[in-house]
Symmetry: C2
Subunit: 280 residues, 2 copies
Amino acid sequence: MNPRLSLNQATVRRADLATALAVTQKAGIASIGLWREPVADVGLAAAAALLADSGLRFSSLCRGGFFTMSDPDARRAAMDDNRRAIEETAALAAAGAPGSAAVLVLVPGGLPAGDRDLPGARARVADAVGELAADAVAAGVTLAIEPMHPIYAADRGVISTLGQALDIAEQHDDVGVVLDTFHVWWDPQLAEQIARAGRTGRIAGYQVNDWITPLPPDTLLARGMMGDGHIDLRAVTALVEQAGYRGDVEVEIFNQEIWDADPGEVAHRVAAAFGAHVGL
Amino acid sequence: MNPRLSLNQATVRRADLATALAVTQKAGIASIGLWREPVADVGLAAAAALLADSGLRFSSLCRGGFFTMSDPDARRAAMDDNRRAIEETAALAAAGAPGSAAVLVLVPGGLPAGDRDLPGARARVADAVGELAADAVAAGVTLAIEPMHPIYAADRGVISTLGQALDIAEQHDDVGVVLDTFHVWWDPQLAEQIARAGRTGRIAGYQVNDWITPLPPDTLLARGMMGDGHIDLRAVTALVEQAGYRGDVEVEIFNQEIWDADPGEVAHRVAAAFGAHVGL
């Protein structure tokens, strides 16, 4: 079992927190990435206690962000919610086993309804990250901006390239990026931007999965298991390693077929595919 | 009616060539972009005669390209086919009304089956363009590399950004790029790369349509009518105008609902949406 493998909870989406922790342990995986909703389902204190009991490391919390709205009240509510997510991240990282990472993944959000001003939405992301950066530093939490595949530029994530995410992250202390192979594999500047992220110490997380074709009808559920698609995962991993990243590597797969399968069986498949295809 | 509007034949896909020419004329549109298959259905000489009789300008031929394969025989066949496409482009441009453009759109092609070497496939595109460039110059044809949305990087077009297309085009005489709003709208470097394309005289075509959400299940048919989606078409058009492009502007929409509609009615909708949303 690769000691750096972490199971992102979204991969076993129908499992509640206790089940997700149990199947991760049983598959011999030492680390887990959590999502806010299943944590909230049991309450933060109980979730932290379950995590501590599991003996697993905590690799990240998904997700903050969604702060592209221009309406002031909606924006304020989003920022308040992100501050709560920072606190949750700190509490869960403290409860995880040694080597846990206090990383909050930020999914930027899309264009507000009826709004076609993409540069404007991108500027609001930069502003929001700047506003949250001090809170994150105070809590000992690293904000990790997730550049998202351009397929999501309209409705989920207006930050479309690693270079663009780094342009924002590098303005602040302790703001990084999370590299997800599904989102970044196509980028002609991938090698140079990963090297840049290493030089400036900004790689806060690395998530693996695959790009499968034909793309499933619901593009939100279009990610495949490592090895099932077109991404040269070993090549991307080598770039991330050369850039000096030594943290946990999460497997995060949104895919209805995988969600429909037994979570315990999925955890075993994840471990096997990770060993066979990721190059670690 | 905007004098620069051109109807790309793919927008009225079920129309044969004669019908496509007729509905274009009837809608008051002065220019048409053709596809090789409906031209081949009637034969090149007959197609050129029909085009000449129509009095319409010819704005481009779709499409050459699909030359990413590594198998030598398959590659040779693809290159031969591209040379035929260059000849077809020259013949149709000569048959079109004054102001016709001898432009062959190149869709690069995806990864060969089972091949995960994206940089390798991209290098083969650059090689193929280099090999065809002299033939194109000799025929008076401009090759127009089409950077494609990263959603197609695996299976249709490994050239994913305008910058990457320009890196290849600028190595040769008379090789340009075609800008399709669906493919490029999300690019954080869009403004600077369009300006670069203008400076180096590389804008060989401009196609408009829209990015709609939710994305239709078949991503190949995911383009929307101008105004129905999230792209700030006026802003993109302004960049293209500032870059000095003064050629025809094609409307190219792959969309089942539009394909199912009456071609004559679609041509009228295209003209109205162009006037309302494109900023020309």
